[in-house]
Amino acid sequence: MKKVYPNEDWCLGCKLCEVYCAAAHSPYRDVHAAFDTPDGSKPQAGIVVEGDTKHSIAISCRHCPDAPCVEACISGAMQKTSDGVVWCDTTRCVGCMTCVLICPYGAVHKGEGMKTVTKCDLCSCTGEPECVRHCPAFALEYKECEAAQASGRGYASERAFIGDKDSQSGTEQVMEESA
């Protein structure tokens, strides 16, 4: 399957991938609106840059075969589609962080003030992921890799697409209600 591959030798550490990813997964879906919210809350990205501008790498989910996060998820919100994409149904996630505890890549994040977790879902397969499209250094590639064979179980989990308003499920971030 196609995944996002980071090239740490080219990465500038500018974090534009984070910005576009977070915006795409926020309820606003727009960079300006997502970061300029009335309550000052910031959306969480599924791809996160490690390091500083000297040496950095943008880490996102590897969509593991036998994904540990899917198997450990206590609610069943974390799931894998038949084409191998691991995604979190945020309408069912309770934010317990069992997936954060189990992901060996540190690729699941719970943003500040978020009720649910955020991770790379390859932008629900809507063409090229936002992070890849907006990386100014071409340090992210969306490509096939033989070493990583997709291992869907041959059964599709119900799949929600960003923006699919009719769906019972969704990948959109859910904020804590401010008390």
Partner: protein
């Protein structure tokens, strides 16, 4: 008499795979079996009437953070997709390992080729003077099933006085859920602190303060010596070991769980507290497998046999059992106690060995590194250059915790990873060749 007759008349229905239990371990086995065998007949029996649901979410249901619909563990079409014959709301009553049959409470009998016992846990209810039997409408409840949560939801109102017995994980989660319904809650814990197994004193105190600020009254070093009832037979108050009395309309007993081994009693399936299994999750009887809360697991932390009643372990064992039942070679080497949860918004992640006195640590050459900042608390337990356990409390320390779990699971020499990886878990601190290899997406554990 007439029932007897109908039972003897029933011809056993033959199924290739029979799974008793419709929860994490059972579901994992279904998914695993169907990866290798798409057509063999597969039946699931559960005495709970519902579609698959997530047991840990029953407290979130009380809290209003999920709904009965959303707490389904698998999608609506799960049974159709995986071709599962369901017997829900039906108890498996008698196992005959010689005849390979299981008799169900509806009078039918199933004959299996491969059997999985995924019967989970039952709540531990200690004898308490004067205590009415739980779940009989007298104000005493256990907290382990969806039905328990639904009953509490129906009974508890803003004026209800609740006493929760047991300050372990489920007791505290029950308390958190019930806080949504009433502010009058007293927690009673036998140990000197709440969450005594998962947390040390410092971390436990932080959680305690959180609960107290939400108006929960916490009584540690205490137990219920007597339960008093009113004229109607309902609970009216509890007397504690120190002589105090607490008024109480609803008593929730959440002290702990025991493996549910009811079905194998009187059979030749070997049991020692829990069902004994080998690395392929097979019991002492060929073709009879067991997985999840009902078994004795291998705890890799100290190479011991222990009940590890956590969902990820149930899933892994169910997955192994399913594969082996479907004719594959697969082993489950064991697991480590791991847990993630939150208490009124404060995240907590624990793994491996976390509770040692300074004397024990010194004796075993164990180094303990503690950091704290406000409500954030981190404890790292290190032995022979390896991470063997940790407590991470608060948002500042729980980020990318999986990298620490990975260091723990693979017992990676810490000197081979960049300094500070325990404080700032990042892949960037690993050797570049290893990082590139791993980013290919091949599973490393």
């Amino acid at each position: 008499m007439s029932l007897q007759k109908s039972v003897t008349k029933t011809k056993p229905r033959q199924v290739k795979y029979l799974i008793i239990g419709n929860s994490a371990a059972g579901v994992a086995a279904v998914e695993s079996i169907r990866q290798y065998d798409k057509t063999g007949t597969l039946a699931v029996v559960s005495d709970e009437p519902w579609h698959t649901y997530s047991r840990p979410l029953i407290s979130y249901l009380l809290e209003g953070k999920t709904t009965q619909e959303k707490m389904r563990y698998r999608g609506d079409s799960f049974y159709q997709t995986y071709s599962v014959e369901t017997h829900l709301g039906v108890r498996a009553e008698k196992l005959d390992t010689k005849k390979r049959t299981v008799a169900l409470s509806d009078g039918s009998v199933l004959e299996y080729q491969k059997l999985l016992l995924a019967t989970g846990s039952v709540p531990f209810v200690p004898p308490m003077n004067g205590c009415p039997a739980p779940n009989t409408g007298k104000g005493v409840y256990t907290f382990i099933k969806l039905a328990d949560a639904l009953a509490l939801q129906e009974t508890v109102t803003a004026s209800t006085q609740v006493v929760v017995v047991g300050g372990g994980l489920t007791g505290v989660k029950a308390t958190e859920g019930l806080l949504h319904l009433t502010k009058n809650i007293s927690l009673v814990e036998l140990a000197p602190r709440i969450l005594p197994n998962a947390l040390d004193t410092a971390a436990s105190d932080i959680v305690k303060r959180r609960l107290e600020s939400a108006a929960v009254t916490i009584n540690c070093d205490a137990s219920v010596s007597e339960v008093l009832t009113g004229a109607d037979g309902n609970v009216s108050s509890v007397r504690l070991s120190d002589g105090r009395t607490i008024p109480c309309d609803v008593l929730v007993i959440s002290i702990g769980v025991r493996p549910n081994v009811e079905l194998v009693k009187g059979t030749d399936v070997a049991v020692e507290r829990g069902i004994l299994i080998d690395e392929s999750c097979q019991t002492s009887v060929p073709d009879v497998f067991a997985a999840g809360d009902c078994v004795v697991s291998h705890d890799l932390t100290d190479d011991s046999k222990r009940i590890l009643a956590i969902l990820p372990n149930a899933y892994q064992q169910g997955k192994t059992a399913g594969a082996v039942m479907a004719g594959q070679q697969k082993t489950d080497k064991g697991a480590r106690p791991i847990n993630a949860t939150s208490f009124i918004g404060l995240p907590l992640i624990t793994a491996g060995k976390t509770n040692l006195t300074p004397e024990q640590a010194a004796e075993q050459g164990i180094e303990i590194v503690v950091d704290s900042e406000g409500e954030n608390y981190r404890k790292l337990v290190i032995q022979n250059d390896r991470l063997i356990g940790f407590i991470l409390l608060g948002a500042a320390y729980t980020k990318r915790a999986g990298i620490l779990t990975d260091l723990l699971n693979r017992q990676v020499p810490l000197s081979s990873v960049g300094a500070g990886v325990l404080q700032t878990p990042e892949l960037l601190l690993f050797d570049k060749t290893e990082r590139l290899q791993r980013m290919e997406g091949v599973r490393s554990i």
